[in-house]
Symmetry: C2
Subunit: 411 residues, 2 copies
């Protein structure tokens, strides 16, 4: 690993100080979107950025833009950022790491007295998690034109509070048109939230895109019957058929030639389950993912073939409904290459990889050349109070982000 420009201790301390806002006894963080704690976090971030010489702008959905000016008044900024909100029992790294690493880039540029041609900008995207207000990534969605501003402002939480009202309440209802603030390029640094980098002992993930995903609801109808009087060969066992089907679907995803097949059954419900009754009805969910549209199509076709085959053999009916389709995202080649060039010369070990989870960068990539950088998550754990990355890992990601943004902003 190369000599560092960034201050490893400073970014770590900054991250820990921010983590105290909403910090939990178990070491995690609960800082739901547009709450008083979110306001405190935003205030602290804004103060730090102002102290580092940034201009602060806020748009009508509460996205915060902290800008370190460049020498060319006409040049679009090189931007980075992520989110400040957490899951209800989240950690101190997911999202906020990417924001504070952006601040560390600015502080380091200041320390080194570097003037860039392009501005450097750090963005906090409102309500990424979707824990308080659905949908997730709503504000970057408005930025990119996926959602209208009215739609986003009228989303309500579990207590029927409007997002727009909560935003006003914490004083972050800005007046800049959402999406009016343009970027030359956007880079998002994030913890991996998965086990790949740690298991493969790689220090940096050069993220080339985000898996597409399709969600399905399946209903399986067999014949409910008494466990005792019904011989095995006479059964139309909805759970037995589903167990066979889930096994086959998982094996199908695991056997794909690409590394990016994912098959998850997260929910399974037997409505009138009783231990001595063969289930006649049940439902389960299916989540299929792949890095390419072709891969996703293949998996869907294979899934349908398995459903047909296994339901016929088991004498049950399976009804499949696709309820959501999110296409794979390929990040901008120039952004991926810019990151890879820096990582390669830095001496950090790395791999190209896809993100399995969604990020604000997915929305931004539809309007601005974008890519992402990952650092390892210990144990692959995230959305959990035990979420952790080491100070060294935190520093290495910030260093890569610094070099990428400096080089891009100088150019």
């Amino acid at each position: 690993m190369s000599a560092q420009n960034i201050n490893a201790q400073r970014i770590w301390n900054t991250l820990m100080e921010m983590g105290d806002i909403g910090g939990t006894e178990a070491g995690g963080c609960c800082r739901l979107a547009l709450t008083e704690l979110d306001r405190q976090g935003r205030d602290l971030f804004v103060k730090w950025c102002r102290d580092a010489g940034c201009e602060i702008s806020i748009d009508r959905i509460g996205n915060i833009y902290a800008r370190r000016p460049g020498t060319d008044p006409d040049a679009l900024p090189i931007s980075t950022g992520s989110h400040l909100d957490t899951q209800p029992t989240g950690g101190k790294f997911d999202g906020i790491y990417g924001c504070l690493a952006g601040l560390e880039v600015i502080r380091t540029l200041n320390d080194e007295g570097i003037e860039t041609r392009r501005p450097i900008e750090v963005v906090i995207w409102t309500n990424e998690e979707g824990s308080r207000f659905a949908p997730a990534m709503v504000a970057s969605g408005v930025y990119s034109g996926k959602f209208t501003l009215d739609y986003a402002l009228n989303q309500t939480d579990a207590k029927a509070i409007r997002l727009g009202d909560a935003l006003k309440e914490i004083g972050y209802d800005g007046d800049i048109e959402v999406g009016a603030r343009k970027f030359a390029k956007f880079f998002e640094l994030h913890i991996e939230q998965g086990p790949v980098l740690e298991r493969e002992q790689e220090e940096i993930g050069v993220v080339t895109g985000v898996l597409g995903m399709r969600w399905y609801d399946l209903k399986v109808k067999g014949v409910s019957a008494h466990a005792g009087p019904t011989p095995m060969s006479y059964r139309k066992d909805a759970l037995g058929a589903s167990a066979r089907l889930i096994t086959a679907l998982i094996d199908m995803a695991a056997a794909r030639p690409d590394e990016d097949g994912r098959c998850t059954v997260g929910e399974l419900h037997i409505p009138k389950g009783s231990r001595n009754v063969i289930p006649g009805d049940l439902s389960f969910t299916l989540d299929l993912r792949n890095a390419t549209l072709e891969g996703l199509e293949d998996m869907e076709q294979e899934a349908h073939a398995l459903i047909d085959q296994i339901s016929t053999e088991a004498g049950v009916e399976v009804c499949v409904e696709r309820i959501w389709d999110s296409p794979p995202i390929a990040f901008a080649p120039e952004c991926i290459e810019a990151v890879e060039k820096v990582v390669a010369r830095s001496g950090y070990s790395y791999r190209r990889m896809t993100s399995g989870a969604g990020h604000d960068a997915v929305n931004i990539s539809s309007v601005v050349p974008t890519s992402m950088i990952f650092v390892p998550s210990i144990g692959g754990i995230s959305h959990n109070e035990t979420e952790y990355s080491t100070p060294e890992q935190i520093a290495s990601g910030a260093q890569i982000l610094f070099e990428v943004m400096r080089d891009e902003a100088l150019a």
Copy 2:
């Protein structure tokens, strides 16, 4: 099929008239134990039996004994019977068929002017279903010494009403010691409640015993993780492992050389299921049955081997607890042979078979030579308002019971 002694129309009409007490719009019956409807059913049964010349006795748990005297005052009776209570949404056949077929035996003996050496006795066992008061088959259990009378009388329903109080309320708290009433032999005629006779186009089942069963609770612990960022090979998927295990357990039961292996998973629960999260924890039930203790032991051992193998391969922990063990019941050979002899000469098609469900006859068999006779259940359906057997099937079972009891009582 041979000429009939019994009156097919009469037994059918008797069954339908009784079914009107608690009869439901959908054609089923709801006559819960020790309710006003149970009392009405008992009163009607007692009236019919008295009209047929029977002496009525009632014991302290409400079992009703209707006796047609024999010529030998010292001879123990040949007895039959079943239960009058139903499931909440039960049918018109389960239980009461066996009681009214016993009445038809007596009526036919009267019609034909036959005097038997031994008395003929028809018994109604209180609270067989266990729907209102747990456990099921409680009164035949007291008769056979499995439960104490106090235990049974102190069981309470969902409204905290004692069984003993409900019994008193309907006026069927008799004074005969439970179990004091002895039998020479006991035969129970019942609908099959399964699909075997219908599918194999056999008219009569000569029941040789009842499957033993063992119930287990399984807890599976993997690692919960995000569906997207976690490649298939890194997962410790509690549901994926369970699906594989359930498939293997079902295949194991289906592949047994005996015909009597049963494996049922009736309940499966994912406590914090979410469609895009790999399940880290779940529980499911397992019900294993076999006709012999050796078979049941074999199945349990094979299940443990499959659990060990699949949990190791999947990287999950499986905790298994056996929560109930009910040994297989072999009925008395002399009773089985008595039935088979009659069926064979009758011309009805038949097969020897085991019962997968429990019956009062299981309890009685521990103190008296006992066996059972089955007639087909249309569609194998029972404990359901659509439960049905045809008038011909009802008549054929009653005819077999008649001949068996007549021959045994004459001997």
